[in-house]
């Protein structure tokens, strides 16, 4: 991925008579300054999100600064690099991704991405600044902006495409929201949570991955505090979206209930279920998010899913009648045989324990017991077949 990309170098090519011979008129520098400003806004937002109680450091802004690395022959073919200040490098890298993503979207039919780290005020400022890129262009001139490396297809900014981009960026809906309503926006929420999908992209340099969920939604994430996870990711990544089902657990950031990204990753597990109807059902349970019952139901734990699979395999081998299989709001799995004459169930708790229960119609009290032993649980299931 991205092997052709020159690390840290951003290519911006200005074309038209004004730039021929590699000349760079001083008044066109403002286009490059605007790009720098866009990244600065996003980087500051990223920093504030990570340090909600602190003031932005005095040196932050000037530390996120662009320098012209070189100008190649031809039209003004400008290669920019960021002045790297190690302590702020991660914010600058994420901000550059955000800036590039919104520029690409503004100049294509893709929806303008929401950047949850921005406050409503910053969001407006951010969009306005992006919209300002290309404002100095004259007929016959263009700016080719290379978001994905110097050898990849550029975004072409001309007078015509700039006009369309400004309309897309204007976010008419945003201006209809009263300022005080915007101020009340809750912003990002962070919670330890798991998502199940397929790892379809991995950027080892940035310690970043893309998880594609069952519905096609792409979720990005970082594993910067757990670099050892790289090897796990390498075993699981498959860009064709046909790779192994994977459960990622970490600090999941959401905004108004919508998934944004994994700020950090704690575990990466391959999720494997039998190729049976039960296996498919357990895979559904693995993908349930917290609150799946409309309340505060917990995610089904990997421990419970593993135990459920083993129990169902045992039930299958023992040719015991097919049970109903359901998620429980405590993060477990309920396996039960229910008839009008009675109920027999094994509830697999989040910690993998088996809680067994039976009640026949007319009985005053049911029978309750608990075990960690799979064999005992299978025997209990089989007793209902007798």
């Amino acid at each position: 991925m991205g092997e052709e990309r020159e690390p840290g170098v951003k290519r911006v090519r200005l074309t038209g008579a004004r730039f021929e011979g590699g000349r760079l008129p001083v008044d066109s520098l403002i286009e490059l300054q605007k790009y720098q400003e866009v990244v600065r806004i996003a980087a500051a937002a990223e920093w504030r999100q990570a340090h909600p109680d602190d003031k932005l450091p005095m040196d932050f802004e000037e530390s996120v600064s662009l320098t012209i690395d070189r100008i190649d022959d031809g039209s003004a073919d400008v290669f920019l690099i960021f002045e790297q200040t190690a302590i702020y490098a991660e914010y600058q890298a994420e901000a550059q991704d955000a800036a590039d993503a919104i520029i690409v979207a503004a100049y294509s039919d893709a929806p303008i991405p929401e950047l949850p780290s921005l406050t409503p005020k910053e969001d407006v400022q951010f969009r306005e600044t992006v919209a300002g890129i290309g404002a100095t262009l004259l007929p016959g001139q263009s700016i080719e902006f290379y978001p994905d490396g110097s050898d990849m297809s550029p975004v072409s900014i001309t007078i015509a495409t700039h006009k369309e981009a400004v309309e897309r960026l204007s976010g008419v809906d945003d201006f209809l929201v009263a300022p005080d309503e915007g101020a009340k926006e809750p912003g990002l929420q962070v919670a330890e949570e798991s998502l199940v999908g397929r790892v379809t992209a991995l950027d080892a340099d940035r310690m970043r991955f893309t998880l594609t969920l069952g519905d096609g939604e792409e979720v990005h994430g970082f594993y910067k505090t757990q670099p050892a996870l790289l090897e796990d990711f390498r075993k699981l990544v498959n860009s064709t979206a046909e790779g192994p089902l994977t459960r990622i657990t970490g600090d999941l950031q959401t905004r108004a209930g919508q998934i944004f990204r994994f700020r950090e990753t704690s575990t990466v597990e391959q999720v494997q279920f039998d190729n049976t109807a039960w296996g498919a059902r357990l895979a559904e349970f693995a993908a349930l998010r917290s609150g799946w019952d409309g309340g505060t139901a917990e995610q089904i734990t990997s421990t419970a899913l593993d135990a459920a699979q083993k129990l169902l395999q045992g039930i299958d081998r023992a040719q015991i009648e097919r049970p109903g299989v359901f998620p429980t709001d405590e993060g477990g799995v309920l396996i039960e045989w229910s008839k009008t004459s009675g109920v027999r169930s094994i509830e697999i708790l989040a910690d993998g324990n088996f809680e067994m229960f039976s009640l026949s119609r007319g009985e005053k009290n049911g029978e309750h017991s608990e075990t960690r032993d799979l064999t005992n649980a299978i025997a209990f299931a089989g007793a209902g077949n007798a």
Partner: protein
């Protein structure tokens, strides 16, 4: 005998034994082959051990299903029911809470009532929902149609 009976202000015991109360079945309570979890008849994480049912004397099963699909966090895939008498025979009670104030930001379904699971131990909760499940399955699904969305002619 009704154990642990302690009603809050505005709550009223239902006493007509024949009255049916409807329970909506959400997707996660139903398996692909049509089995319904016993947990479908008990409390969930957001109802304070007061699982919602609807009074058949005040709303039809279809009205109850439509309201649920249009207002609850999950759609209803069908309606099952138990009678007040069956709950009482299980040593619990059904409570009409229509006179209780509705918490801010919440809605209450027309004809709302609940089977009182408050104060029950974990084993007792399992037993009660299993008993309700047996009664409901014996009665069978209450016929209703899928709820259509606004502007949709057919489900």
């Amino acid at each position: 005998m009704i154990a642990d009976l302690e009603l809050l202000e505005g709550e009223q015991l239902m006493s007509t034994a024949e009255e049916l109360v409807f329970r909506q079945i959400a997707p996660h309570m139903l398996s692909d082959d049509g089995k319904i979890a016993t947990t479908a008849f008990g409390p969930n994480t957001s109802d304070d051990n007061k699982p919602s049912y609807s009074r058949s004397s005040l709303v039809s099963a279809q009205e109850a299903r439509d309201w649920h699909t249009q207002n609850a966090s999950s759609l209803s895939l069908g309606v099952w029911g138990v009678t007040v008498g069956e709950v009482i025979a299980s040593e619990r009670h059904v409570v009409d809470d229509s006179a209780c104030p509705v918490p801010e930001g919440k809605k209450r379904a027309p004809g709302h009532c609940f089977v009182d699971f408050r104060g029950l131990s974990r084993p007792a909760r399992k037993e009660l929902r299993a008993r309700l499940h047996m009664h409901a399955m014996e009665r069978g699904e209450i016929p209703t149609e899928s709820t259509t969305e606004d502007g949709q002619l057919f489900a």
